[in-house]
Symmetry: none
Subunit: 282 residues, 3 copies
């Protein structure tokens, strides 16, 4: 319909413009949905089930230092997330022997006076017989909030805060504690298959332990750089990949259109000239 309009002289310019803009919007919308769909499919291929486990845990504040045990076992060996009896063999372990794995922690904390102080998180990797195989500590410190900045954010994103989609006065810390640990790798020690994490929250001497809204441990098996990027930066990677796919699809579409136009330009007149020049050739 658009090409017919260009040929007829009576059609006003704005009609063509509106039709053109509409066509572009429709095509770009379809391109966007297709690229998002491809993106989701790629994520499932690149990040298959069985390489990343998210385990929520509840630190026990009755202990001197809040501590939580996080079994890294399949669910059917656990009772409501707890390991009630000792394991005899290595069946049910989420991380296979010889695999490398990372441990990341995610903590949600309120901006309270006890949380203003620096605290430490200690992760112990426990073997099947509950002995500690490896220990790593990390210091955690919440960002100081500037009240001017905080209120500017509240005003800027007011609707989201009112609807409860954004939370005020909470910070989520997400950080690696163990990286590239090899299951059963310690030399000179016997059976060191890691079956549990023990996560302790250590305040500084004479201070109260930090208060958390929620906590989770992420156990990640053999992540490549691409998997690492897709897993730990989900929003950034999704936007990047979708934009890249949309651009790629547009380039593909433009190439097809250019090829068709070129075929018309070179093929069309040539046929007409063939008709004019010599009819014996056809």
């Amino acid at each position: 319909g658009e090409e017919d309009g260009d040929e007829r002289e009576a059609t006003p310019l704005w009609q063509s413009a509106v039709l053109f803009a509409l066509a572009v919007l429709v095509i770009q919308g379809q391109v966007f949905f297709v690229s998002c769909a491809i993106n989701l499919g790629l994520r499932h291929l690149i990040l298959p089930k069985g390489i990343a486990y998210e385990k929520e845990f509840q630190p026990d504040y009755q202990q001197p230092n809040p501590v939580a045990y996080v079994p890294i076992l399949e669910d059917n060996y656990l009772t409501s997330g707890q390991l009630l009896h000792k394991l005899e063999d290595a069946r049910g372990l989420l991380v296979q022997d010889g695999s490398y794995f990372d441990v990341w922690l995610k903590l949600s904390l309120p901006y309270s006076s006890t949380n203003e102080n620096l605290f430490q998180v200690q992760v112990d990797l426990l073997a099947l017989n509950s002995t500690t195989v490896f220990t790593a500590r990390r210091a955690c410190l919440m960002r100081r909030q500037n009240s001017l900045l905080r209120h500017a954010k509240l005003v800027a994103f007011a609707p989201l805060y009112v609807l409860g989609l954004l939370k005020d006065g909470e910070e989520t810390l997400y950080f690696p504690v163990v990286s590239k640990f090899r299951q059963g790798s310690i030399t000179g020690v016997g059976d060191t298959k890691v079956s549990q994490l023990r996560v302790s929250l250590l305040p500084q001497r004479g201070r109260d332990p930090p208060e958390v809204y929620g906590a989770a441990a992420h156990v990640l098996v053999k992540l490549s750089y691409l998997q690492h990027f897709l897993y730990h930066y989900p929003v950034t990677s999704f936007v990047t990949l979708s934009c890249g796919l949309a651009v790629g699809l547009n380039v593909l579409l433009l190439g097809i259109i250019v090829a068709i136009v070129l075929a018309f330009l070179f093929g069309g007149p040539a046929l007409e000239q063939d008709d004019g020049d010599g009819e014996g050739a056809s």
Copy 2:
């Protein structure tokens, strides 16, 4: 199209001006990209892998003074960044015997009341057998924040702060602690190959230790003055080098254009004169 327009007298001046400005913009954009590309290539050549190592570390606040051990070894001798057993020989050391190296520290600290006080950082260089080979101390003091200046900054860069691209209330200290230390160089002492750093944060007597968001040690092997400038001042050096390269490329382009114009001026009339003077020569 530009040259045709100059020849026809009817072309208005502003069209030529627009075309000229466009051509200049396009050429300068290309010059800019080429100079950035050359810049990146030069950086890779001048700062090769193997002269600079950045090692993040986590001070342990459960000690009387927060302390961290930073192995300067290749990653495959470490378990999740830690050295679990003593080394017997000097394999895997990042700094070869007889090489000179510097140690710089980078600390990110919040503007909190405990950090207002001056504190010291002590770096001990530990030999293979964990004895201390060399000790250096440095005093650290955060800048006092003027609240007027701070809020002026917040208002000036408000969108960046709201989106979380700039962090408020944080200062990053970056300073040298050890400079030009020769691996295995202490005279009168036996085997002094440095395999670990011990970094301690020392508060003044009776004060709380400083709180850090993050900390990293930079171990730099044999930096020349140019490498030193490129490594420690990345933004300044990148801008300087790119501008210099862009100016150089422009001078080169102008020289080529002048040479072509000169060739036309001296070659063109000469050919015409040749045509006029004697046609037997051609």
Copy 3:
């Protein structure tokens, strides 16, 4: 083009004025650059390497009073700026026997409550065998800041402060402590070659030691009055010398122009008279 315009009577006055102003600007710009270049050359001649040494030092705040040891030795006798073993002989000393030297200190301090109090700096000159040869004390007191003046400054230079080019809340003290001390000069004592400075920051009784951003000792060998002025007042002396040189160059240029004009005035009519008087002379 200028001379052609002067000869034709039709050229308007403002064109001549613009051309004249342009010529003056170009000539003065060249005079300025030449005088700066001569200034830098003179500085290198007047302040040669080997008469002034700047040694940064780090007071150790773990001591009851912060103290730092500053070796005045060549760098190849030091390990990362520290003297690790005692010297046996006087080789490597920066100050030769019989030379006179001064010691100036430069301290950068924040306007904090501990720094509001007066404190003292003590410099001990230590001989090769670490005995104290000479001791000098100086009282230091930071200027009280007037908050109105401070904020006026902040507002006046706001862009420089926001971009981090100017630092707020810092004062730099620069003062002499030892002046015209003769190397090895104490009568009645044996070998007294000074090889180290010990710099102590002494607070008043029962007060906290002052906090410093940075500190440096300047050791200056045999400065004449001109060298003294050039070294201790670099900005003032540079501006003064450059202005003086620019004035001198202008006087020189004017003299040359006057000489040429005079030569024309007296030589030109003389030639014309020669033409009129007797043509046989030429």
